[in-house]
Symmetry: C2
Subunit: 522 residues, 2 copies
């Protein structure tokens, strides 16, 4: 099978040669006795132009050469001749074909150095593989992303979604390649879990029992409500075995994971350098452009590694991925630069040359307070030491430094139990942890990471405070009992990265089949 | 940070040089004034031998050089000195250190060409990072895999599981690399789904509602029981909106996916060559060495592709992966060859040189019947055309041909609705589909695939017969309405592949944290 990519890669060698290829009609226009078809098989972002001239095409049945081409790997058990030789279409029939129709074209490849596309195919025969009817939903006009979300099974056929999902695939490979080249071990941490150690966000229950017809309440005995904050709140009783789960598949209340971090840490103690990359879930009932119930997360974890080194890794990984995508999804990024975010390519290229800022939270707060006091900028939200940064603060910081900013060493009170309490808070009014949030312009927080608490006693105390020190989390403490070492890691929401790489503003448009409240179609 | 892998890769250059490295004690033995420690950081399968001679080690606090080495990337926001300079251990203290303890060693690398390992480190100082107590569960003796399953968070530290999970990681990368090099687009199909089109196996419910305390029954109105067979059985009412789900997160009965195939097919129509690779789920209440409730599945799908070509791809992909793992997990496979399956390396190397057999099911049945009739082999199960093959039949076929066998063109009555009904069943007594099961010795069925039904009317009829032609599956029919083309694909259970590559016999030992009935710990 010759693909459009094959032709695009080697059209010079194929000059004036006969070629056969199959694809879908993206666009077709005809005037008088000539018809132009943009044919795409999705292997290349740009389609191939097919030129059909009335009177120059063959209307007999397909030639032996065509048959051979389409059957060339037929061997062994290929007992059936599924595709009977199909008739060639007449010019009139070709001109009538609607967008989305699949055809096979044979013709001569000619170079067109004066045109935008460097070559085209002068067809001598066209066969129909599968027609698309007039009511095909993807018409020539530009469709809204909202409309296209309703036909998630067809939208990858559009330029926009073809570009986005190719970038997604290329970025995913870049990340695997990055870690593989550096001898990391990829670990598939579990999706179903009873280990609700993180206590972060709302959980989906996984069950083979029937569900009750009434909505849970926050204090429901079986409720899966977990506190969204991470410390000092009492934990729901979800970890206490409940009689009703005795008959459930796992004989316990099981959930969909919110993060593979704790489990992958166990593997960091075995391999030093590991990562997990898989789907994670939040049953958060919020309809925002940045939240989905199901999303992919990449979480590297490194043993014998402290905070500064893990920031080095995060920065290096991000630049590697951007450079790889710039190199390997060129046509797609150019399209996105033109139609989605003007200046996208410049923005991405600029990052590659920058050394990210590293700014302790305490200094960030002082800078923000000073800026407000001196009226150099106006903020809606007042900030005090101990507060989380608001979006406007994040925006100010990335604009102020004109580059990505690692904000480090946050107040322990607003961060999870597993982050290492700093031995030296250097001027902070209260206890801080050895962590970072990487802020970037447009996307806000892109990566969050930390050095992990490696002291058994401190960790136990923090887990007790957070209400997650239960039988099902004992294994996590074991890691600090049996040869504890400094480990550090981070998490990056893969969809946020794709939004950052493509300029797309809604998470629903970077997930093939997004899951949001009330929507699990397909 | 210098890793064991760095030393292993470049020990010749480091001859007689001072090095510092950190790791865990795998084994320690001492006699008189000399102590030998096998130190591993997991970056290399083989540990490094550390030699400590009493009187030759430094008992003062750590040197400036050590501090510099461990802090060399400290910069920017590294405000805290987390690791205070630690004291060097005395010889007596070193000799007492238990397995699993983490230490930092400085010493001279010397070549040992006469020994099994090509170099060792003559320590001049040893510092403790984290001690492991006497009750550390991984003692010197060999532990049973059953015992190690109980400590899934510690077992990757053993040789066996370190080898298995490294092979798993390498094989995963090999597969991504294979498809990336061939311009496939990686698609993350959804994990949560309402599209129970496949009707294959039992489903897990995903919900935010409370769970009822009684076990569902097969005919329960809300029951998620799906028929295990694939045709002509009536489908449960699970796809009919039930009032109780109005208050659920997705407002419908949502499940964990059993396969991403149908969704990835939508993307094959956009990109021609695609694959999905992610977790899939079966709530099958069976405790066998080959079944887990959560497992990873790789599913490529190719447009403009018929059955023979997709078999070419399956065969090529399998050989590529085996070759890649042989090349990139050499030490691990040698270990597995020695301790898990004698002859593993020979078995894997042999496959690379073989052309797999392609045998229509009808011929396979005739061969089996003939063999039984002529008493060339004895079977427990009689086989008639229309029956599934029993394990003994699969074993006979792979032994008979002495190579992997694609059994193709199975009876339509025992295969799913989406497989293409053959136009030319060539001698079969009844309707067959264009599919294959790839049988290999030891593992049985390793890959299953098919050409997909591309005729709208035939597909609709088959979906109706299978009871899966509902509103939520209409989108799948759309793919055959709007420019239908021949597409083909296959699925390979990733754990089955890892078992095949490692010789490990139980699926619980190739999943980092296996999920089986009654077990979702961690």
């Amino acid at each position: 099978m010759i693909t459009v990519k094959d032709l695009t890669d080697s059209y010079k060698k194929l000059k004036d040669k006969e070629v056969s290829l199959s694809g879908f009609i993206k666009l077709s226009r005809h005037s008088g006795s000539i018809c132009f078809i943009s044919l795409s098989d999705g292997t290349s972002f740009k389609p191939v132009q097919i030129v059909i001239e009335e009177g120059k095409i063959d209307k007999s049945t397909s030639t032996g050469a065509d048959k051979q081409a389409s059957k060339k790997t037929n061997k062994g058990a290929d007992t059936g001749a599924d595709k009977t030789s199909q008739s060639n279409l007449s010019f009139a029939d070709i001109a009538k074909l609607g967008g989305g129709s699949a055809i096979r074209v044979s013709g001569k490849l000619i170079l067109t150095p004066k045109n935008k596309q460097p070559f085209e195919i002068i067809a001598h025969s066209v066969q129909l593989i599968g027609a698309s009817p007039e009511h095909y939903p993807l018409q020539k006009k530009r469709h809204s992303v909202e409309f296209l979300r309703e036909i998630a099974h067809l939208r990858p056929r559009t330029n926009l979604f073809s570009a986005v999902f190719k970038v997604r695939s290329v970025a995913s490979f870049a990340l695997h390649k990055y870690f593989n080249e550096r001898n990391y071990v990829y670990v598939n941490t579990p999706i179903i879990t009873t280990s609700d150690c993180e206590g972060a966000g709302e959980l989906f229950t996984v069950t083979t029992l029937p569900v009750a017809s009434e909505q849970r309440t926050a204090n429901s005995e079986q409720g899966a409500e977990a506190p969204n904050s991470t410390t000092k709140k009492s934990h729901p009783s979800s970890l206490i075995p409940h009689p009703s789960f005795e008959k459930d598949f796992f004989k316990e209340h099981a959930y969909l994971t919110v993060s593979g971090q704790l489990q992958v840490e166990a593997y960091a103690y075995a391999f030093s350098k590991v990562y997990t990359f898989g789907p994670t879930f939040r049953a958060e009932n919020s309809n925002t452009p940045r939240h989905a119930a199901e999303f992919w997360m990449l979480e590297p974890e490194v043993a014998f590694c402290e905070l500064p080194q893990i920031m080095d890794i995060a920065e290096d990984m991000l630049k590697y991925t951007i450079a790889y995508v710039l190199e390997n999804a060129k046509d797609e990024l150019e399209f996105l630069d033109e139609f989605v975010e003007k200046g996208l390519l410049d923005r991405l290229n600029k990052i590659l040359k920058q050394n990210f800022v590293r700014l302790p939270y305490t200094e960030a707060v002082a800078l923000l307070q000073d800026t407000a006091k001196n009226k150099k900028a106006k903020f809606e939200n007042k900030i005090e030491w101990g507060d989380d940064l608001a979006t406007e603060h994040e925006k100010f910081l990335t604009a102020h430094f004109e580059k990505p900013v690692f904000v480090t060493d946050w107040p322990a009170s607003i961060k999870p139990f597993y982050m290492k309490v700093s031995a030296n808070p250097s001027g902070s009014p209260n206890s801080v942890v050895r962590n970072f949030d990487l802020l970037v312009n447009l996307a806000g927080e892109l990566i969050g990471g930390s050095q992990r608490e490696d002291c058994y006693e401190t960790l136990k105390q923090r887990m007790e405070q957070a209400g997650v020190c239960t039988i099902s989390s004992k294994w996590y403490l074991d890691l600090r009992e049996y040869g504890s070492v400094p480990t550090s890691g981070f998490g990056i929401g893969f969809e946020r990265l794709i939004m950052y790489l493509t300029g797309v503003q809604n998470i629903r448009d970077v997930l093939p089949f997004p899951r949001t409240p009330g929507n699990a179609k397909y």
